[in-house]
């Protein structure tokens, strides 16, 4: 019983920490995307309108 409660608390804590990390993960992904986009623009700098 005690073990079950501990596991439940662990799962809840994990869920909370995962949720708290979402904005940071999103920010990191966006930053990485922008970096790769800039690299591609440098690689193919041509503009055709």
């Amino acid at each position: 019983m005690f073990k079950k409660i501990i596991n439940y608390i662990k799962r809840v804590i994990k869920k909370i920490t995962d949720t708290l990390q979402i904005p940071y993960i999103k920010y990191k992904r966006e930053k990485e995307y922008k970096k790769r986009l800039a690299e591609l623009k440098k690689r193919d700098p041509f503009i055709y309108k």
């Binding site: 790769r36 986009l37 591609l40 623009k41 193919d44 041509f46 055709y48």
Partner: protein
């Protein structure tokens, strides 16, 4: 038997069209001084430069197939083909409306009208009309995140044209005007050996692609607004291709 007209069909993007050599996006003089024009002159072949400004690799493959479908006459023509493949991430997407890209390629020797059934997605352009503005952000994301897929597609297009020209018994030479980057992926490692390296200049060397090589060497075209190379890099690249051709005899005099 009548003498067949000797033609060098030149297909590619703005680099093969000689864009901005004289500062203009397209002109007869640009096409004459582009590496393809120089090679045609050296080989005593009439240049038919069908390169389109802003072309994608799928567009380049289509230019060639459409030209052969609509213009080629094996009874009267002796055709060799020079192909300058471009940046792999460029996309062409079937469009909801008829477009007009002819305005960008005003001096092409033949215009592949099928290009007007698509809209182009280039990484440096966020789109102009409603359809482009709606689709481009998502497609830019795709271009950034799926480079391995897009490079694999380009290699497949190279093979498509290789086998197409082989089936017609037409001599050809291919080169990269923009480099491929991901030759360390297994999916690509398995495709590259299928490409005839005797007919593809510097197939396995991304540092030798026309635009990047001469940019790295420090060549700057003062007349260009969009960084295309000037007369000298085109002449030097033509010499490189002619040297390769001397050994491998891809294009005939």
């Amino acid at each position: 038997m009548a003498v067949k007209e000797k033609i060098l069909l030149i297909a590619g993007c703005s680099h093969s069209a000689g864009s901005e050599i004289d500062g203009k996006e397209d002109s007869a003089s640009n096409r004459k001084n582009a590496f393809g024009g120089i090679i045609a002159k050296k080989l005593n072949r009439k240049p038919i430069n069908i390169s389109q400004v802003g072309a994608t690799n799928s567009g380049i493959a289509r230019q060639i197939m459409q030209w052969f479908d609509k213009k080629y006459d094996p009874e009267t023509m002796n055709v060799n083909v020079l192909i300058g493949w471009t940046e792999s991430t460029r996309l062409e997407v079937p469009s909801e409306r008829q477009r007009d890209y002819r305005t960008a390629s005003t001096h092409t020797d033949w215009y592949d009208e099928s290009a007007d059934d698509y809209f182009k997605v280039i990484i440096g352009w966020d789109g102009g009309d409603e359809e482009e503005l709606r689709n481009t952000p998502l497609l830019h994301k795709f271009m950034v995140e799926q480079q391995p897929y897009l490079e694999t597609q380009s290699y497949n297009l190279i093979l498509q044209i290789q086998y197409f020209l082989q089936s017609k018994k037409v001599d050809y030479l291919m080169c990269s005007t923009m480099p491929f980057f991901l030759d360390n992926l297994n999916a690509i490692k398995n495709i590259i050996p299928l490409i005839d390296a005797n007919k593809y200049y510097q197939l396995d060397n991304k540092d030798e692609a026309f635009f990047h090589k001469y940019r790295e060497l420090g060549y700057v075209n003062e007349k260009a607004k969009y960084w295309h190379h000037g007369k000298e890099p085109h002449a030097l690249f033509a010499d490189e291709l002619l040297e390769f051709n001397k050994v491998h005899k891809c294009l005939k005099k």
